[in-house]
Symmetry: C2
Subunit: 439 residues, 2 copies
């Protein structure tokens, strides 16, 4: 079978542009009522029966038998042994990536994660105290899509934030453990780890069981069951975002070797048939060149079939009338990953308002950012970059307002508060303020 990958060719100058564009962008996160109900039942059961329920589901779904849940704890020694057993190149790569991710998140903490306060002219102190969460849970998928890089990207920001305990859960179907995932947990500072997964693992983390400690927040990617379970426990614990399919948008001014751009589009498409790769470029000849590179490079790719389905089904090569127009369209999409593949990336960057991560210049392939540049690879998908942010140290911290009204301040603030409280019909609020006034 000859595979072909033909992204949709769309032109901004066409009368049909708006409908072509809308058709290609359309994606809806359908919820499956059957999954929802299954997940609700599992959560209720784990809440009621704790360890016993988790053990039963683990046996049923992962084919993994144990006499007690404690047997499924992965010890620190086991994580370290997994690391020690890796080839040196993988050990070095994991450590180098972890070092860079840590350095970036330490800079992030310094820039936006420290307590602050000031005193006003009356001596009243105002500020915010920033503190780490006590305990968080990190979900790591098992099986085929087991990504050690995700372990680093979730656990390191938590560790940098100062979280007291980082509890990882990772399913090990039929007992098969991924040594890279275990090694990444060792490198990233995971405190405890359990070989459990699915909705039952989310329930164990959210409610706590005799063996698995209750956490304050759960982060990390997962399948439809895990996503549904996270949504349901939201409020009992904090959660990170619920991710949709991954996306890349490349803004190109035709200065980058077209094979680089083709491979960057592949690197998104190879994740998943639903992943979306889009090129925006004002140069039609360059778009042709990228399509030729797609044709040339595809056959050698081990994941060619997924790439072909993704590019043909959801990919797009969009011919714009200018780079400015390309930027405007990018803002409408609000992509997860945004490459500015241009000689002048800093000319276009200020025009780009919504994106999870912005990769500037031809040398910044998304894959460098995915693994080791330093910034987080957990990013808002499906246009949610309009209102949300990459996973960061701030997701593992919370803030408490600090207010210390001085005696002098109370004399100034009291009458203001009392007037507004009376206006809202809340007289005890008013009296509490008035009692602090000097006679």
């Amino acid at each position: 079978m000859t595979l072909i990958a033909i992204p949709a060719r769309i032109s901004c100058a066409d009368a049909t542009f708006e409908s072509d564009f809308a058709a290609r962008l359309h994606w809806s996160a359908d919820t499956d009522a059957a999954i929802e109900q299954r997940v609700a039942d599992i959560l209720a059961d784990v809440r009621r029966r704790g360890d016993a329920a988790v053990l039963e589901y683990t046996q049923r779904f992962d084919g993994l038998q144990a006499a007690a849940l404690a047997e499924l704890e992965l010890t620190q020694a086991e994580l370290k042994a997994a690391f020690d057993g890796l080839p040196a190149a993988q050990r070095d790569a994991l450590q180098a990536a972890a070092r860079r991710v840590r350095a970036y998140h330490e800079a992030q903490k310094q820039a936006c994660g420290e307590s602050w306060s000031y005193r006003d002219e009356d001596g009243t102190l105002l500020g915010q105290k920033v503190t780490p969460l006590d305990r968080v849970g990190i979900y790591v998928p098992g099986g085929k899509a087991a990504y050690p890089s995700s372990v680093l990207m979730n656990a390191i920001p938590a560790n940098v934030a100062g979280v007291g305990e980082i509890v990882m859960v990772v399913p090990t179907p039929k007992g098969e453990k991924n040594p890279l995932v275990l090694a990444a947990a060792h490198v990233a500072g995971v405190t405890r780890a359990f070989a459990i997964g699915g909705a039952q693992a989310i329930a164990a983390l959210a409610y706590g069981t005799a063996t698995v400690p209750k956490v304050d927040k759960i982060t990390g990617p997962g399948n439809a069951y895990v996503a549904s379970a996270k949504k349901r426990v939201f409020g009992t614990v904090g959660i990170d975002m619920i991710a949709g399919p991954s996306e890349i948008l490349v803004l190109a001014d035709a200065s980058t070797p077209p094979e680089w751009v083709a491979m960057d589009l592949f690197s998104q498409a190879e994740h998943d048939e639903l992943a979306q790769s889009i090129l925006l470029c004002p140069d039609a000849a360059y778009i042709d060149a990228v399509q030729r590179e797609i044709d040339r490079l595809l056959p050698a790719m081990p994941r060619a079939e997924i790439i072909a389905k993704s590019l043909t089904g959801r990919g797009a090569l969009i011919h714009t009338r200018s780079m400015e127009e390309a930027c405007a369209i990018s803002n409408r999409i609000a992509p997860e990953h945004l490459e500015i593949s241009s000689r002048e990336p800093h000319r276009w960057e200020p025009l780009l308002r919504h994106a999870g991560a912005i990769f500037l210049g031809a040398y910044t392939s998304e894959s460098l950012g995915d693994y080791c540049a330093g910034p987080n690879h957990v990013l808002p998908t499906s246009g949610t970059a309009r209102f949300s942010s990459p996973l960061g140290v701030y997701d593992f911290q919370k803030r408490s307002s600090l207010i210390e009204v001085s005696e002098a301040g109370a004399q100034v603030l009291g009458p203001i508060a009392a007037t507004l409280a009376h206006g809202e019909g809340l007289q005890a609020h008013a009296r509490a303020a008035e009692m602090r006034l000097k006679p």
Copy 2:
């Protein structure tokens, strides 16, 4: 009828403490399946029929008739007229409160809401660009619980963040408008306002209609229908937290006049029968004194009936063995409002890990913070302060990672990324990194 307000007396030294404590703290946010279904139907209908559906629901639920949704827009002139028509004391109080809230949130933006970046030793740029949301919606309840202070607390942080458009919705049952709410919208910088409410207003903001613009995020309190609608549109737009009943916890070392503490407990209890007021104190005689002040002050309170029900049903006076123990119990509760009513508030503050807002010293009544000290009064409830934060400028901003890998940096990062990508079976990721290596 003689009202009595008798909070539960609980002692840490009692053998039954744990069960007494658990019984008093118990609160569960039950979801009502009938409300859920009604809300789902309304959302789907507004999404399909837009303006016409919003008009119909407004007529049905608010008894308010209009030929077109545009007639329900509250103009800037109308907001200003409401402000101009207030008594001078209310105008001054609103402006003074707005000034202080603005100053605090500007300090917050400076402390934790600015873009940052650095270059590493290879010349690679890493950082985060912080940008305001384009357009947000603010829900303001109408009718009895119409709080102009909430308008300030939601709109001002959005305005300070630099949000382009702030769209307020407020139901006006039978056409009755609250002049303080409209005036607060004028003072706080609301851009557009509509006299609509309920799930239909949330749907209009989330999906957009011909008249109401689609927003990126919705914040603000509301009843069970509004809360359910916000949960359902989460993902399409961002939302703030879903609030439970309001709570205050007072840590007292017996140095504050007991009538001040009694009134502070009242000021929470008067919100709602489900509101929770708790005192933690190591001095039994002082607890007795506070109970006497409760008895003495209650009859004069206009909202005595609500206060009595709240304190008797959910309030607690807890006798601890020490201030240290009081702090430890406070951390278990993670209260929304936490007063340290002590001569040494800075001695205890470092021991307090989880709280929405911390009020230090006897002069800092919660009500001063509610209205005008400066910090936000939208705070995490029901123990969610363990993992979430006060509403702030950061809720109206989002972050985009910035990465510009230099040519030299690509030579260092490429082999690391390629090794990890091969380990995960993602060969296009590896190839994209390898293509940037010099031969």
